[in-house]
């Protein structure tokens, strides 16, 4: 209380001082001062400062309103990139030993235990670099550590419909793989994507060349070369990705997206190979004068391996429907087929059977900047095990986060 009072007094005194700025010294005193300054300068061997009122060539007298530095005092702030942070937290309950029977990227705890999770904090820095390119940087803080999820430059001014991304980026494969988890409708990735593509999104440093075909609908062809870590492998592998992506307007307020993806990922063993294929479909129906919509989306992933212990072809995918009911609510249903793993491992082998999962989602968005989701799932393993899963998920965003692609 006392110190606050003193501080207030000091502030008031300073205010009073500020209100009556000291005027210029009288002329006689000023001449004396100047003389003394010159004397000191001579003693120090430095040139005296130019007398006030005699500005150098080109200098404009600053009007009173202008700050001492001239121009806009907020220039530094104006030059800052868009900064955002997105937090993801979950509480889970599983009655199955997910870790050993159904390995995945989504959050889970010990069986029959309600477990809170800190999933991720994503820091985004986004800005144009210059008139020719922009940069998007996403740093992911998670219990596993800090990872540069993406950091890439995108060209803006290449001719003939070309656009190049260089740096570290999510591989242009499929639909969900190219989206950050906080953009996904459901709280976790489809199991087939984890097991056939990558359990932490297929991504890595490299170059992505995209060509927008000069056609009246959206046709984009991607060719990317990067190093990436395929499913459950913590080692960078040389990866080539190709993708053809198309979007069509089908009637008033409906859009159809179709994508074909393929990837070839290097295997360290001589004669071994890993090839991935993917088909993705999306149909969004939104009457233009509402904020409600329905999206049907599905992806099929297939992986062909040879010369490794996982040799053979494995296939899986998901099909989902999401109904956004106005600004504040959404509901979703997802069905999945995924190749099951050999129990206790992350290996997908021929004959390990098919895992089936059905998920239902309820979502509440108090505003555009946070959402609370409840997802329940029923997981059926080929050996007859049934798993119930419940997840409560919270997500928020602060700051200026760039709009997401469609």
């Amino acid at each position: 209380m006392h110190s606050f009072f003193v501080a207030a007094l000091v502030a008031a005194a300073q205010g009073a001082l500020a209100a009556e700025p000291p005027g210029p010294p009288p002329p006689g005193q000023a001449a004396e001062q100047k003389k003394l300054e010159e004397e000191i300068a001579k003693e120090l061997g430095a040139a005296p400062a130019p007398a006030p009122g005699q500005p150098g060539p080109g200098a404009a007298p600053a009007p009173d309103a202008q700050p001492a530095i001239g121009g806009n005092p907020y220039a530094r702030i104006l030059m800052l990139p868009d900064i955002s942070a997105i937090g993801d937290f979950a509480g889970t309950y599983h009655n199955l030993d997910v870790g050993s029977l159904s390995p995945r990227s989504g959050a889970y705890g010990a069986p029959h235990e309600l477990t809170p999770h800190f999933e991720e904090l994503e820091l985004g820095l986004q800005s144009v670099i210059d008139p020719y390119a922009r940069a998007d940087i996403f740093i992911s803080f998670s219990p596993g550590g800090v990872d540069v999820e993406e950091a890439y430059l995108t060209t803006l001014a290449l001719p003939a419909g070309f656009q190049v991304r260089a740096g570290k980026f999510l591989s242009p494969f499929g639909r969900l793989n190219q989206q950050h988890p906080h953009v996904w409708d459901f709280v976790d990735a489809p199991l087939a994507m984890d097991r056939l593509l990558s359990a932490d999104s297929l991504k890595g440093p490299g170059l992505d060349v995209a060509w927008l075909a000069p056609l009246p609908w959206f046709v984009e062809l991607h060719l990317a070369g990067q190093t990436a870590q395929p499913s459950f492998i913590e080692e960078d592998r040389r990866t080539l990705v190709a993708r053809l992506q198309q979007f069509f307007d089908v009637g008033d307020g409906a859009t159809l997206g179709v994508g074909l993806s393929g990837a070839r990922i290097q295997e360290p063993l001589a004669g071994a190979s890993r090839q991935l294929g993917g088909v993705d479909l999306m149909l969004k129906i939104r009457p233009v004068n509402t904020r409600s919509y329905v999206v049907f989306q599905g992806e099929l992933f297939t992986r062909r391996m040879s010369g490794t212990e996982e040799a053979g072809t494995a296939t899986g995918g998901y099909l989902q429907a999401v109904f956004r009911d106005g600004p504040f609510y959404a509901y979703g249903l997802r069905g999945e087929l995924a190749p099951a793993v050999v129990a206790g491992t992350t290996l997908v082998q021929p004959g390990s059977g098919t895992e089936r999962r059905l998920s239902a989602l309820v979502e509440w968005l108090p505003s555009e900047f946070q959402r609370l989701r409840a997802q329940v799932a029923w997981d059926h393993l080929p050996d007859g095990h049934d798993g119930f899963e419940g997840t409560l998920h919270l997500e928020f965003v602060i700051g200026a986060h760039g709009a997401h692609p469609f």
Partner: protein, 315 residues
């Protein structure tokens, strides 16, 4: 020789078919016509103004429709295709399109329509912007526009300024037709001046009358018509009203005798109807922009309709 050989191998009919298919495909390509500038606008209102400025010297298409909430347009890549061949992109600005336009512009490969690019015209740059926050802004204040209020299409003076700005921009891009653009801009101003006198006359006896709006979407309109907002349905922009807010609003509407609750026709009307039910004030569904209601295909018809609806309800 090899080509000839393969032509024979393919057979002439195949070749002809391939040539026809190629020709058909090429005819689909978006060709930059020398005759008209390809102007793409973010909203139908801006499209209307671009037509006023450009006439038959421009070909105008809008990325969204007047019946749509311009904050929540989908960043559909099909729209990026429209932007690829744009000679000029006209946007509202003040972050109205922040949720969907930037990714489309980036996908378009059209470097010149980037912000500050030579083929970009941001309408807000030429108007007097209202509701510019003077203090710190954060999202506890709702989903407000930190740069100022972007809903200026219902202000004819802003429309005149935008058409004049567009005429200057079009003249830079197409100097051969500069005189036409200047003439059209002057004509538009003359017409709007006459309209404005008429519209203002309709509101003259209604000066100071209170209305209720969704949020501050009507600031510009209220300023030139002399009406005033008794209150807003949303306590903060984009924040749904709790019953307590609506109860307060009912008291305010009753106390001040507000007769009209103005709601852009892309908003949900439940809150408005509740207030209407308890007060007798009339819910008036207004067009949010040019094209927002049947018969509002031009700027003047849009404003005529707006004036008629509002003046009719407030009287």
């Amino acid at each position: 020789m090899t080509i000839l050989h393969s032509a024979r191998a393919l057979g002439a009919p195949h070749l002809r078919l391939a040539a026809t298919a190629l020709a058909a495909l090429l005819s689909l390509l978006p060709a930059r016509t020398a005759a008209a500038l390809n102007v793409v606008t973010t909203t139908e209102g801006l499209a209307g103004l671009a037509k006023e400025a450009g006439g038959d010297k421009v070909q105008v298409q809008s990325l969204s429709r007047g019946i749509q909430d311009p904050h929540f347009v989908d960043a559909n890549p099909a729209l990026a295709v429209k932007l690829r061949g744009a000679d000029l992109l006209v946007d509202v600005g003040l972050d109205l399109e922040i949720g969907w336009l930037p990714p489309l512009v980036n996908q378009s490969r059209n470097a010149e329509i980037q912000p500050n690019g030579p083929r970009r015209f941001t309408a807000a740059s030429v108007i007097h912007v209202l509701d510019v926050p003077t203090g710190p802004v954060d999202r506890s204040m709702g989903d407000l526009h930190p740069a100022g209020n972007p809903h200026f299409m219902d202000d004819p003076r802003a429309a005149v300024a935008v058409v004049a700005g567009l005429a200057r921009k079009l003249s830079q891009l197409d100097p051969a037709n500069a005189a036409t653009y200047a003439q059209r801009s002057a004509d538009f101003q003359r017409r709007i001046d006459a309209d404005l006198a008429r519209w203002k006359a309709a509101f003259a006896p209604l000066r100071g009358r209170p209305i209720v709006a969704q949020h501050q979407t009507m600031s510009y309109f209220l300023e030139w018509t002399g009406l005033r907002a008794a209150g807003y349905l949303e306590p903060k922009p984009g924040v749904p009203p709790p019953p307590s807010h609506l109860a307060d609003l009912v008291q305010i509407v009753k106390a001040q005798g507000a007769k009209a609750i103005l709601v852009e026709n892309y908003y949900d009307t439940r809150s408005a109807e509740v207030v209407s039910h308890h007060t007798g004030a009339k819910v008036v569904l207004i067009p949010g922009d040019v094209g927002g209601l049947p018969g509002t295909g031009t700027y003047e018809s849009y404003l005529d309709t707006l004036v008629r609806l509002v003046a009719g309800a407030v009287r």
